[in-house]
Symmetry: C2
Subunit: 404 residues, 2 copies
């Protein structure tokens, strides 16, 4: 009976296809999986967190076990502003959320009516795309190249949409170690993007789960940082930073900085959706920062991941056919393969099951009905060196068979 009462959206919305893909390989014994986006458990600061949780509850129970403010723990907010080095940003420009997905959801709730446009990179993060679709957004895609989002294509797209009378609500981008492609936006491109956004008066949502996972090379400042430092603007970019990849996704913590009115409205949504993030994990994270654990911890994470990325790139070069193009990121959790136009990542996925290898076909990172098929995403953070070697060798064999 209750099914008849579902809203149209609830009836038709998609779940993350990745879950179904992963489920379809769950019973394959000895599977080598490059599919997920899970951080390596070896990077979790287990001892420190175990101690901090015990201490925090013992010493601050009447605060951390009690209702917290929808705005987030004031101590965590203070520590975050110190950590990022923004001494002119006030706590009311910052909101703590139950993970980055949560922040992206609130921003979209605040801005998007059904039919309004969100502009995304194509491909983009599937979790955001399914949320945008569920909110009725008209998702419009702009390609990205080796320097990141193509700003010329963006300008053309915006012009076209405005001519068609569309309401563009924001531009969604993942500038650092982009999921799924691993691409990092160049400094030049970042400035072009900000200048265009300022001129066109279109807000930018900067999704930043990976910038601290840089294994080599020089960091590029975030869009928020550039807008703040060089354009004296803290409104045009809303930056979401997740703790999932640098502390542990189980904690469900992220923070978002931006325009004060927007943050206040997102907070008002948070009050209605979950009241506040977990108070214990917020305070524990505040202590983690306050005691100066983060720098060493990030160094450890990056030292851990570096050889796995190197192994993945080495095995890609060694085993995959020369007509396969791939990105060479300096951090993050993913590499990306461009296949020849005639080769489908989805077809490869099916064939790879027989070789006990798994990945995510590139088509899963496009909005519904805008899919491209000649690509796939590889995760290198959740496999051993031997698995990467063996898995990529098998993938090479499968590709040769496929081509033949």
């Amino acid at each position: 009976m209750i099914k008849e009462l579902f809203t149209e959206t609830t009836r038709t919305m998609k779940s993350s296809m990745i879950r179904e893909l992963v489920a379809s390989t769950r019973n394959i014994k000895g599977l080598i999986s490059f599919a997920g986006g899970f951080p390596a458990p070896q990077t979790f600061p287990v001892e420190t967190l175990s101690k901090l949780y015990a201490e925090t509850i013992a010493n601050e129970s009447s605060f951390v076990l009690q209702y917290g403010a929808s705005e987030g723990d004031p101590m965590l907010k203070e520590e975050l502003l110190k950590w990022e080095g923004y001494d002119d940003i006030t706590p009311d420009q910052l909101l703590i959320t139950a993970g980055a997905t949560n922040a992206i959801y609130y921003m979209s709730l605040a801005l998007v009516e059904p039919g309004d446009v969100i502009i995304c990179e194509a491909p983009s993060f599937l979790g955001s795309l399914v949320a945008f679709e569920a909110l009725g957004a008209d998702i419009q895609c702009v390609p990205l190249d080796q320097e990141g989002l193509d700003v010329v294509a963006l300008q053309n797209k915006v012009e076209e949409l405005q001519k068609a009378g569309k309401k563009i609500k924001y531009i969604y981008t993942i500038p650092d170690f982009h999921n799924p492609t691993g691409v990092t936006m160049s400094l030049k491109r970042r400035k072009e993007l900000i200048e265009f956004a300022l001129a066109a008066r279109i807000p930018i949502l900067e999704d930043n789960p990976y910038s601290r996972l840089r294994f080599r090379g020089e960091a590029v400042p975030t869009l928020f940082r550039i807008a703040h430092d060089e354009y004296a603007n803290t409104d045009i970019v809303t930056e979401v930073v997740s703790f999932s990849k640098i502390l542990g996704p189980g904690l469900r913590l992220a923070f978002v900085k931006g325009n004060k009115d927007l943050i206040e409205r997102m907070c008002s949504w948070q009050q209605k959706v979950n009241i506040a993030p977990d108070n214990v994990s917020q305070r524990v994270t505040a202590h983690f920062l306050n005691r100066g654990y983060m720098d060493d911890h990030l160094k450890m994470c990056n030292d851990h991941y570096r050889p796995y990325l190197d192994k993945m790139l080495e095995a890609t070069s060694k085993y995959l056919p020369p007509y396969i193009q791939y990105t060479k990121p300096e951090g993050g959790l993913f590499t990306w393969l461009w296949l020849p136009q005639t080769m489908s990542g989805d077809a490869l996925f099916e064939q790879a099951k027989e070789y006990k290898v798994s990945f995510i076909p590139g088509s899963k990172f496009y909005p519904t009905n805008q899919e491209k098929f000649n690509s796939l995403r590889l995760n290198f953070s959740f496999s051993t060196f031997e698995q990467i070697e063996q898995g990529m060798k098998s993938l090479g064999t499968i590709m040769e068979e496929f081509k033949a």
Copy 2:
């Protein structure tokens, strides 16, 4: 600039008025507050939780710090079904959420299009009302008496709404130690409600944060339990149980049971809104139940609260004028005063500030434009005996002055 881009709902939605009320008394030194709904910090199982958090992270880090399933921790779900004694209910009829507000939000997202009707008790829980309003629900009220929701009034209301062509999506009720009135629905009334809902094919959302906080008297089975045991039906009632009042609101944990299809769609929303609840607090709560701490803990909570409720009722009888009617609950966190028609809880609130006493005016627990003013809510869980004595004495004086 970004304000111009807000959705209509985002621009106009209310925050919880209770926050503003509480803010307006924040600077009153020596304030005696009966306003909040906070559980007493003395009831938090600090030592046990401190130990369980440390152990859980140390022993299960690769699980609890990692991404968890949107459905919730399988161990917690198993423990919850054992705790409640439902051996025929399967884990896919159960969802873990980031607090009860979160579950209520997902259920509403799944069912309510703008303009659809949710039927509520009047008065009702403000947190739910503001969420329903933000989702565009048409909130229709039915009064409650000493036996709880008035089912005859409900039948008339439903008939009237159906004649008007309205889509009724569900009936929202808080049967045990109702917030704000403290009323517990009688067994007879519960059966009448279920029978009506089954006949009218209208789902019930049973909000149950307080049923375990019973200080005396005999428990009445939940609506879900009655539907399950006596009508062999696990679809008509969706029951949300919160851990906020019995373990600690800082943990942001609740669980919801009901129709499998509904639970699946609510889970699909959870995936988009926050991916999953905090994985650490879920597993810690699972261990708390598994090790059998809950029974003794609840006994301790109830032993703690009982004398505060008694003190509040005694002081009410002793100090308030005889024309004030009040509820005499056997549990929960609140009592409720019915004032004479000519007396406004809002006006009393302003006057009470001068006496350094605070409470929530009854009008705050009605949907916008459906307010009644001759009532107020008193919380007894967050004050000392002396504060209750002194605060109620002052309230009596204020009422006499007001009347005069």
